[in-house]
Amino acid sequence: MEKEKKSWPPYAPGTHVKESDIREKKLTYTWWEPEVQYSWSLGHAMSKFIQGLKTGKIYGIHCKRCKRVIVPPRMFCEYCFGPTDEWVELKDTGVIETFSISYLDPDARRIEEPILVGVVSIDGASPKHGFMHYFGEMTKDEIKIGMKVKAVWKPENEREGSITDIKYFKPLKGGDD
């Protein structure tokens, strides 16, 4: 019953189609453009967080059992699986944990001026607790992991209750704190 040990896969079934075949309609295909919108309730924890941003404040939340100050906040702690405790107003400063210099837009189109983006851990929260955001007032050669940064807020009348109520994080200089 020993089968012949030929090399596998023995062949590669499938028919390669080039992008140009589609553009030039050499491929028989059909097309559909869905139109759909969504509305999401932000829930208990994120509603408070986002409303806080509108007033220029970053809120975390305390889990007393885990001795953890959590940001972004949630109404429960995924470690001890109990409800979280009281709200904590955090600073609007922090540290760059990691970053990227992006030449891609969301559809992978190339852009000229790179976006500086990364994770900021927020001062006053537990270590490594933060969120993703943009960086500004620094060049791609200046940005580095470990850099201290401070939020640059939109003017109050332009804030709409969004993570983008913070425009970006800039380098923290003496006196900014």
Binding site: S7, P13, L27, L42, T98, S102, L104, D105, H129, K140
Partner: protein, 387 residues
């Protein structure tokens, strides 16, 4: 629990666009696996389908859409899905169908059509980001990898040259793979380092391509494996683990969830010293640094040591610990769930001595495959062993 053997595997061509529909690709991969195992549709008790986000195909509930091409009509059938982890999670689900004694023969099919979505497959990835925290920032999926890669490089002081060696190795390894999309026998480290910067530190040749493709795998109960082969390959261990979706609340330099999944699989396999007891590995390599990150997560070396082993040639096909002898995702392609073809089918082909030009020299007896997915949180691990 029942012992579970692998008796057949199949895989289609991987390309950015294929003419075939998802059903047709599933049919072709399944037919090849049935040919390998020497079985017919009626011999299959149950079917598992692995396929990643519906947003790529653009067909909601595509598990149902794919049934006819998966030899599943009239049979118990389930689709499993955990993003990029699916390529190894689908075979894990196939294994538990047989290990539990519920099925004697279980077919696993993994399918992906990423080329359907416009303007780019990355457009579909917009839908996986958190709608409150992330989407207003207009993220691109590559950002995630770039941020993780930068953290990993910075913590361990790793040079991009050493990471580029992974892309070179895998694209060269893929030369022996008939399905390969990006095999390149002449690629050099300089080619990788000089390729377009997408989202620094990620450059174009650090990245695997989006692909269409399918793969299939057939498991059977050890009690009947003598009907199909005298030289069976067995599932020695499986493991899976997921971390919090709050990826900005942990240090990205080490994938602790991969280590959790690996420990689970090694415990079942009786593996105490992974680097000594495992002969080769297929860690998930959608980006070149991910192979290194996952070697460390799979406990095949110490933290920060994977780039050194790579530089020393240990991970080459003829090295002491061949890594991604298939050519991986970087060389063969990345139709998300269908990467089962490199991550588990390849283990079987290597252990059965059927890998042809890709065959690892020596006498490999134990291999580990792994996939990774969701928002940097899911790990799936399978260990195969020659009987």
């Amino acid at each position: 629990m029942k012992e579970v053997a692998v008796i057949g595997a199949g895989m289609t061509l991987f390309r950015r666009h294929l003419k075939e529909t998802g059903k047709e690709l599933s049919f072709m991969a399944t037919k090849m696996a049935m040919e390998d195992a020497g079985i017919q549709k009626d011999d299959i008790d149950m079917v598992v389908m692995g396929s990643a986000p519906d947003a790529f195909d653009g067909i909601h509930m595509k598990g149902e859409n794919l049934i006819d091409g998966s030899a599943a009509t009239g049979k118990p059938y389930v689709r499993v899905f955990n993003g990029g982890g699916t390529g190894v999670f689908a075979p894990i689900a196939g294994w538990w169908h047989v290990a539990s004694g519920v099925a004697d023969v279980c077919l696993v099919v993994a399918e992906e059509k990423m080329g359907n979505v416009y303007p780019h497959p990355q457009t579909a990835f917009r839908h996986i980001w958190d709608p409150v925290l992330d989407r207003p920032l207009n993220p691109n999926l590559v950002w995630l990898f770039a941020m993780e890669m930068n953290r990993y490089m910075t913590v361990h002081n790793i040079k991009k040259e050493d990471i580029a060696l992974v892309a070179v190795k895998n694209k060269r390894n893929a030369v022996g793979h008939p399905c390969a999309q990006l095999a390149d026998p002449n690629i050099t480290v300089d080619d990788v380092l000089n390729s377009e910067i997408m989202a620094w530190p990620v450059q174009r040749l650090d990245v695997s391509p989006p692909s269409d493709g399918a793969a299939a795998l057939i498991f059977c109960n050890k009690d009947i494996v003598h009907k199909f082969t005298d030289d069976p390959i067995y599932v020695a261990g499986t493991g899976w683990s997921i971390d919090s979706t709050m990826w900005t609340n942990r240090d990205l330099y080490f994938p602790r969830y991969v280590a959790q999944a690996a420990k689970m699989a090694y415990k079942k396999a009786g593996i105490i010293n992974p680097p000594k007891e495992i002969d080769f590995a297929e860690p998930y390599d959608p980006f070149d640094y991910k192979e290194l990150h996952h070697m460390e997560g799979l406990l095949l070396c110490k933290k920060g040591e994977a780039p050194i082993l790579t530089r020393e040639g240990v991970t080459q096909r003829d090295g002491d610990m061949p890594i991604c002898p298939s050519g991986g995702l970087l060389g063969v392609g990345n139709p998300i769930a269908a990467t089962m073809g490199q991550k588990v089918c390849e283990l079987y082909w290597q252990l059965a001595g059927k890998a042809g030009k890709r065959q690892i020299p020596g006498d490999p007896r134990v291999g580990v495959g792994q996939a990774w997915g969701d928002i940097m949180q899911m790990a799936t691990v399978m260990v195969l062993r020659r009987g």
